[in-house]
């Protein structure tokens, strides 16, 4: 007899399914200031503004960044993991990246729907960005809960904590030792097979 509530999964992109975009860009541009991520800086606005100003000051255009991103591939095993997960329940990606940056990567992941932000481009320059909505990951989880879904959220870093807390179940995947130790309330794992096992157990408990 199957009468449990319906479940839905939301996943962070960078660190969970793909490498960190900004670290790849830092490696190719040599701009070390781009290496800071949401793992290091919880204030998204400070982080994003700093990155965009650094790139623009160095004269690096959007095309050059997109070329770096198009050369990136999902983490090993991510495509198979996502395929398994999508056969079980609806899956969305919640990312604080920009549409323009995320698209080459979601294409390689089989086009999961991704909710994120948008970069403002002007004549090929990075002119700024527009947060679609503040605290969008937590707000999206709340929205799916209001539609009577129980939600499992998977993330790796500071900007995922409110989403993991809001979700019916939150899981840390390949989090830094610092993030994991500061949030012992979330199960934490480093292998996709372990992540899938945690989610399967949670689905079965509906």
């Amino acid at each position: 007899m199957s009468v449990g509530r319906q479940s839905l999964a939301v996943l962070d992109l960078e660190g969970v399914l793909t490498p960190e975009i900004w670290i790849a860009v830092a490696e190719r541009t040599g701009l070390d200031s781009l290496r800071r991520t949401t793992r290091d800086e919880p204030d998204i606005d400070a982080l994003f503004s700093g990155r965009i100003e650094a790139l623009d000051a160095a004269g690096i255009k959007l095309d050059a960044i997109l070329e770096v991103i198009e050369g990136m591939t999902p983490l090993e095993g991510a495509v198979d993991f996502l395929g398994e997960l999508r056969s079980r329940l609806p899956v969305l990606v919640l990312s604080d990246t920009f549409e323009q940056f995320g698209r080459p990567l979601t294409a390689k992941l089989g086009e999961p729907a991704m909710l994120c932000h948008r970069l403002i481009e002007q004549d090929g320059r990075l002119a700024g960005y527009r947060l679609r909505i503040a605290n969008q990951k937590q707000r999206a989880v709340e929205a799916f809960q209001s539609l009577n879904y129980r939600v499992v959220a998977v993330g790796d870093s500071y900007n995922d904590v409110t989403m993991l807390t809001q979700a019916d179940a939150g899981v840390l995947f390949r989090a830094s030792a610092k993030v994991a130790s500061e949030h012992p309330q979330f199960p934490s794992c480093d292998a996709y097979r372990d992540l899938l096992a945690i989610i399967d157990e949670w689905i079965a408990a509906a």
Copy 2:
């Protein structure tokens, strides 16, 4: 310069991306009472209860129905259309079918996230169903709008009208002449290339 609001698309499943599941089941079981769809009967509860009672009374089990559904294929051109659309913006399927029925079809469509309902099975029998939430299509559109997305919705029948009305743009696809003439406020088309052109124009107007 790209500063418009971010857009998202929601699509009905049956009639827009796949044939009507219940018509296929009616053809294979010979139960003509299953032929009524949301095009004919706007009251979902009456429609669903009638279908489930008719199948159970005829001794038809879930396995037999799933075998019919697994033999179905998406509408010609649907996979390519969905691929094109997903390269442009996040896409979700909003369907009043059941998880169990929809999964063989979403698998053939490349696993778009689908929000729907759930069948209650008991010992292989259809014991009933659970609406996840009343008026779920309209509610989902409202939820994405609350996350600051402008939403385009595509449907073909009565149970899509509240969703199309709520959306920032609603489009009828292969609707019956009756549905289309009763809702002249929605653009209406029958070919995927025309549907894509309507959505492209709407995206560009953001």
